[in-house]
Amino acid sequence: MFQLKFDETKCFACETNDCLTKCQYLKIDPDTAKIEIKKIINKKDSFVLHECVTCYACEEYCPTGNHPFYLIVQRQEELNILPLPDPLIKRGIRIGIPFRGEPDIQEIKGPALNLGVFSSLATLTRGKLFEGLTLMSADSRKMFHYFCQLMYLHFGRISVINERLEKIIETIAAHKVKEVVHFHDECYGTYTSYAPAFGFAVPFKSIHLFEYLYNRLKELKSEIKPLNFKVAYQRPCSSRLSSDKYQFVDKIFDLIGAEHVKREYVGENALCCGGTILGQKKKGSRQFSLDLQKKNIDDMQRAGAQICVFNCPACMQTIGKPVAKKGMMPVFMSDLCRLAIGEKTS
């Protein structure tokens, strides 16, 4: 029913094949990239399908707005080349099943705040920054009704997303919301990138948390006291689906007087937190994930970061502790902004 709109002709005319040549995990030269992308388009086996660590980055690398990563995942599913062991896939698919009652649908006037599946983050959404936003649901028993499902891109399971997403959109729309601020990049990416790519109608406007925070901080500018911290930012995989919003990271840092340290693995070169790679089937994945984390964290430290800023709870869970062990404080972006306006954080 929902089909990926992928324009093959763009690939055939593509001169750079950036999607694969820029990939930080597969070392692919331009000639090989041309061959492999064709294989993938033609539903043929390609080593890319086996070796992809599902970092989402090629969605950003593609200069034409084609959807190479969605295509890769679709082919992984069609050819049964799954990145994770079977029990993790079975368990993962079931994680998204709501099992504690129906959502409590209340009409929301004005802009809403969607936490997606992370109802536990409700404690982060206090204070002046979030005044005027209505929390759609912070009930941990109901959170799966708001789960955007995009996680299944790591599981080689486009079909699960496509089966469930319409219902999730319906649930959000039932609140009669016109504008939704998504706390997590993954939700924002779902409604602004994945949904149009597969033909899902989304009857509300999505706002990225960072754009919202930036605008709100501007309104509260007189209350900002520059933080004077050196910060690194851990970019989540799903932010690759909304690279136009990445600019707000620096805009926020500038506004609150945080110095974004210069380092190697930043922006387009950002490294995955390693959370999903840890469990992948490919030989040596766990060690690879640890090495990757070390490379990333050492880089932050070398650059002199005092704080590592997160937006994704999964990244926080994966490398929050190792970052702290290296003497950098792990902090959510929203908390950093709250600190800047003199609020106590969670």
Binding site: D86, P87, R91, F99, L278, G279, R286
Partner: protein
């Protein structure tokens, strides 16, 4: 005025003896499916001498005495089945001695696991005891009286194997010591004196344990839990065999449950991994995850279930919440590890028959010498029908344990009878002799391990 009550007041003081109905009511229930059983008196002694006096009184008056620790054993084991004195031991909660270098602690038996853990955490953070997954109010005495197991069961076995010495008030009132402490030496070993310890596993029916010397173990600074996940329950025995060969985990538990849905039919093995340095942690993880488990990961049958989490102690069951009303009770068993697949399948069948979401787990004891396999049944306390179902499921499971070649752990009276019916007749005779010799008036927790019926 009631003479027994008066005598109890004289022994423990007015504040610590009662025959008031509202207090008897509190002591008439436990958390499980058992019918309420009212004691006639409650007494909370502070010393072994007070316990002794109460025992002498009980013998004189032929009144039953039922020792009570935290009352968390669930199966009605500390309920006064035949009335008498509920002997609440929670005031006997002192830490008497801690020998750091010999790694043992001497405690009064009514000390809670929570108190001991907190004490060690504060004063001796590099030492720990093997803490059961029970709520922290569970006592050390109650736990060893039922052969409990804690989060160091894989390297060191049953908690009752970690006893270095005991002081016991016998059913006839003598205060008796066992182990090196009995010859005036330190409390550092139970062996090599002749084995006359006849109190572990007896549910308090052969005496009241008043002091215990418990082994302590190195407590590593970094303490994390890793998860390994498989779909095929048939793989669990092999996995546990492999993991115990490596011997790098502190605790190994295989579990699954119907709720939440992602757990259903997916078997998780939690591995507590600890170390003083990151290098030690990674060394252990490397041996476990990149060594023994690698082939399961690569052939896609098993996977690393999550990023390592800090260990939560105790790991308390959430399954009480599966049904509205917050009740649960479980059958525990000591089983060969090879029985895991059958235990899971047959247990899930029983649960389905009684409309209860299944929750099962197997904790490894020793080098997979056995496991404590448990089946939990949730019920709504306010709904007698669900209580009936849970009770029936518990009874069916008791029979299942024996059918599968296991031994029921901390059996309720029903399970005790099942086992005694099957017991070798000479063994049963020996139990009778022990019981009758130690407790000639049959006052100690009557109804439990009732060999004379």
């Amino acid at each position: 005025m009631d003479a027994v009550y008066q005598a109890l007041v004289k022994i423990v003081g007015e504040d610590y003896a009662s025959n008031r109905p509202e207090e008897l009511f509190t002591y008439s229930k436990d958390l499980g499916t058992s019918e309420p059983k009212f004691p006639d008196y409650v007494a909370a002694p502070k010393t072994a001498e007070e316990v002794q006096k109460i025992i002498l009184l009980a013998n004189k008056k032929k009144v039953p005495v039922v020792p009570l620790g935290g009352g968390m054993s669930l199966a009605g084991l500390a309920l006064p089945l035949q009335g008498g004195i509920a002997l609440d031991l929670k005031r006997m909660d002192q830490i008497i001695e801690l020998n750091e270098k010999a790694r043992y602690v001497v405690v009064e038996a009514g000390i809670s696991n929570g108190k001991l853990t907190a004490y060690l955490h504060k004063h001796y953070p590099h030492l720990m005891h093997s803490e059961p997954g029970a709520p922290p109010a569970a006592t050390i005495g109650g736990n060893i009286a039922i052969h409990g197991q804690g989060d160091m069961a894989h390297p060191y076995g049953f908690n009752s194997d970690m006893v270095n010495g005991m002081e016991v008030v016998l059913p006839t009132g003598e205060i008796c010591k066992f182990g090196s402490c009995s010859i005036g030496s330190g409390w550092y070993t139970l062996h090599p004196l002749p084995d006359i310890g006849l109190f572990l596993g007896w549910n308090g029916s052969t005496g009241i344990i008043t002091k215990i010397s418990l082994r302590l173990f190195p407590c590593k600074k970094i303490r994390e839990m890793d998860l390994f996940v498989v779909e095929d329950e048939g793989l669990i025995p092999d996995l546990l065999y492999e993991l115990t060969h490596v011997g790098m985990a502190e605790d190994l538990i295989a579990f699954t449950s119907a709720i939440p849905p992602f757990m259903d039919g997916v078997h998780h093995i939690s591995m507590n991994i600890t170390g003083d340095t990151e290098e030690e942690m990674e060394f252990k993880r490397h041996l476990l995850l990149d060594g023994k488990l690698a082939r399961y990961i690569q052939d896609g049958t098993g996977g690393i279930g999550a990023v390592s989490q800090d260990i939560q102690r105790p790991q308390i069951s959430k399954s009480a919440d599966w049904k509205k009303g917050g009740g649960f009770e479980y059958v525990g068993s000591i089983m060969p590890v090879t029985a895991y697949p059958e235990c899971y399948r047959r247990g899930a069948e029983i649960s389905t028959r009684h409309n209860i979401p299944y929750t099962v787990l197997g904790r490894v004891i020793g080098s997979a010498h056995a496991m404590m396999f448990s089946w939990s049944y949730a019920f709504n306390r306010a709904d007698p029908e669900t209580v009936r179902h849970a009770r029936e499921a518990l009874h069916e499971t008791d029979s299942l344990v024996l059918e599968l070649g296991g031994t029921i752990w901390k059996p309720a009276v029903f399970g005790q009878k099942l086992m005694m019916d099957r017991m070798d007749s000479n063994t049963l005779q020996m139990m009778k002799k022990v019981k009758n010799l130690l407790d000639p008036n049959g006052i100690m927790n009557p109804g439990n391990w009732e060999v004379n019926e």
